[in-house]
Amino acid sequence: MTDTRPGRLPASGHRPGRPGPFFARDRGHHPPALWPDYKTSVARSPRQPLLSFENTLSEITGPLFSLRDLGPQDNDLLSNFATEGQPIGERMLLHGQVLDQNARPVPGVLIEIWQANAAGRYRHVNDGYRAPLDPAFGGCGRTVTDSEGRYFFRSIKPGAYPWPNATDSWRPAHVHFSIFGSGFAQRLITQAYFEGDPLIDRCPIAGSIPDPAARNMLVARLDMENSVPFDMLAWRFDIVLRGRRSTCFENRPEGN
C-alpha cells in the first residue's frame, strides 16, 4: 500500500537549515492578466482573484535538468537545424546570468528559447506571414546555466513581424525565454527585446508591463565587451528568478 508517512520531513515540508518559502510574487511588477490593448488577453484572463497559498513541497520542488539531458548543439541556433548552409541574418551571441532575488547566481537553470528568423517568420504551421522561411534556421535552442548562473546561445537576430491585434501592430524583435528554477512556483516565461528598438514602446505586449523600470528589465543590452570581432555582436540579457526567504527553523519561528 501507499506509504503516506511524512518520513523525516518536518510537518511543514520545510527542512531545517534549508531556505524558507519563495518571496511572494509582486503582481504589480508583472503584466496584469487583463490588458485590453492586447486583445487576446480579454477572453484569456481570469476574473476571480488568485488564491494565495503558502508554499509546500509541491511548490518548492520542481523538475531538475542537467546538460546531460541536452545535445551538444542545443544552444547553437546557427547549426542545430540544418546539416548544411548557414542561417541568413545578423549573427549574435545572446548571453547573460541568472540570479535570484537575493542576488545569488542560480546554477542548473534550464533555459529554452524560441524566435523568428531574420525576416520575422516563425517555423510554425500557424505562422502565415509572407516573409520567407530560412532553410538553415529552426528557431529554438536550450541550455542549462553553469555554476555561476551563466548561459549563452549563438543565433541570428530575429526580425520584427506584424500580427493581428490593432490595425497595424508590429512585434519588436524579440526572443522568447522559458526559465526553470528549482521550484515549480518559480516557473517563468518572458521575452527579451533589443536595446534601441523603437517598436518596443509601441508594443502592447511589452506595454502590458505597467512599470517602465520593470519593462526595461526585458531589454537585452548591446555588449561590445563580449562581441566576437569579425563574427558576431553580443547581447546581454540577465534574468532574475524568485528568491527564497532565509531559513526559519521549526522550533524557532523568530528566525535563526
Binding site: 508583472h30 494565495s52 518548492i60 523538475p63 524560441w114 516565461i189 519593462r215 532574475v240 528566525g255
Partner: protein, 213 residues
C-alpha cells in the same frame, strides 16, 4: 550582495523578479519542438510524466482549456508536476527516495485542431502540508498560451479522495463548494485504464481556481 547567514526571515528581496510575458502562439517551437516539426533534439519533455514501464496505478489525465467565450484554447501548453505513488518528489528538497526512473514532470501541447491535451502518469500519493497537515494527492499544473500574460498555476485533485479533501489545507481555504469543485477531476471511464478529465476554464461561470503561490 549576499544575504548574511543570520539575516532575519523577513529580509526583503534585493532584486525584482524578471517580469513575465505571454508565451505567444508559437510556444511549441521552444517547448514542444517535435510538435512544431523540429527534430533537432535527442530528448524533450512530453506528456509522459512517469516512466511508461511502470505499470502500477497508471492513469491518463485529459482536458481542454476554455477561454471566456467557451472556445477551446488550441494553442495552450500545460506543464504538470507531481509526487510519486508514495507522495515523494524527485528533488533534493524532499530527499526521500522516489520510485526508480520517476521524473514527475510532463509537458503537453493542446491539439492544434481540437484543443484537447493529455498526460500519461501514475496516481500520486499524499504530500506533507503546512502545520503537520497532509495534502490530498494532487498534480500541480501550469498553463500558458497566447493571451495569457503570466502563467496560471492550479492543482488537480482526484474524485476518489473525498475524505482527504475534507482536511486538505488548500481546498479548506476555498469556501465556495462550486469553486472547490473546479479543482477536482472527474473519472471518465474504466476499462484498460482510468482517465481523469480536467477541463480548465480561464474565465466565466466555471472559472477554475488559480493560485498565487
Amino acid at each position: 550582495m549576499r544575504i548574511p547567514p543570520n539575516a532575519p526571515p523577513n529580509t526583503p528581496p534585493v532584486l525584482k523578479e524578471t517580469p513575465s510575458q505571454t508565451a505567444g502562439p508559437y510556444v511549441h517551437i521552444g517547448l514542444r519542438p517535435s510538435v512544431a516539426g523540429f527534430a533537432g533534439y535527442t530528448w524533450e519533455p512530453d506528456h509522459q510524466i512517469a516512466n511508461p514501464a511502470d505499470k502500477s496505478r497508471r492513469i491518463r489525465i485529459s482536458g481542454t482549456v476554455f477561454d471566456g467565450t467557451g472556445a477551446p484554447v488550441k494553442d495552450a501548453l500545460i506543464e504538470a508536476w507531481q509526487a510519486d505513488a508514495n507522495g515523494h518528489y524527485p528533488h533534493p528538497e524532499d530527499g526521500r527516495p522516489v520510485m526508480p526512473g520517476f521524473r514527475g514532470f510532463g509537458r503537453a501541447a493542446a491539439d492544434l485542431e481540437s484543443g484537447e491535451w493529455h498526460f500519461d502518469t501514475i496516481r500520486p500519493g499524499p504530500v506533507p502540508g503546512p502545520g503537520g497537515t497532509l495534502q490530498a494527492p494532487h498534480v500541480s499544473l501550469w498553463i500558458v498560451a497566447r493571451g495569457i500574460n503570466i502563467g496560471l498555476h492550479t492543482r488537480l485533485y482526484f474524485p476518489e479522495d473525498a475524505a482527504l479533501h475534507a482536511t486538505d489545507p488548500l481546498l479548506a481555504i476555498i469556501p465556495d463548494p462550486r469553486r472547490r469543485e473546479t479543482l477536482i477531476a472527474t473519472r471518465e471511464k474504466d476499462g484498460e485504464g482510468v482517465t481523469y478529465r480536467f477541463d480548465i476554464h480561464i474565465q466565466g461561470e466555471y472559472e477554475t481556481v488559480f493560485l498565487d503561490i
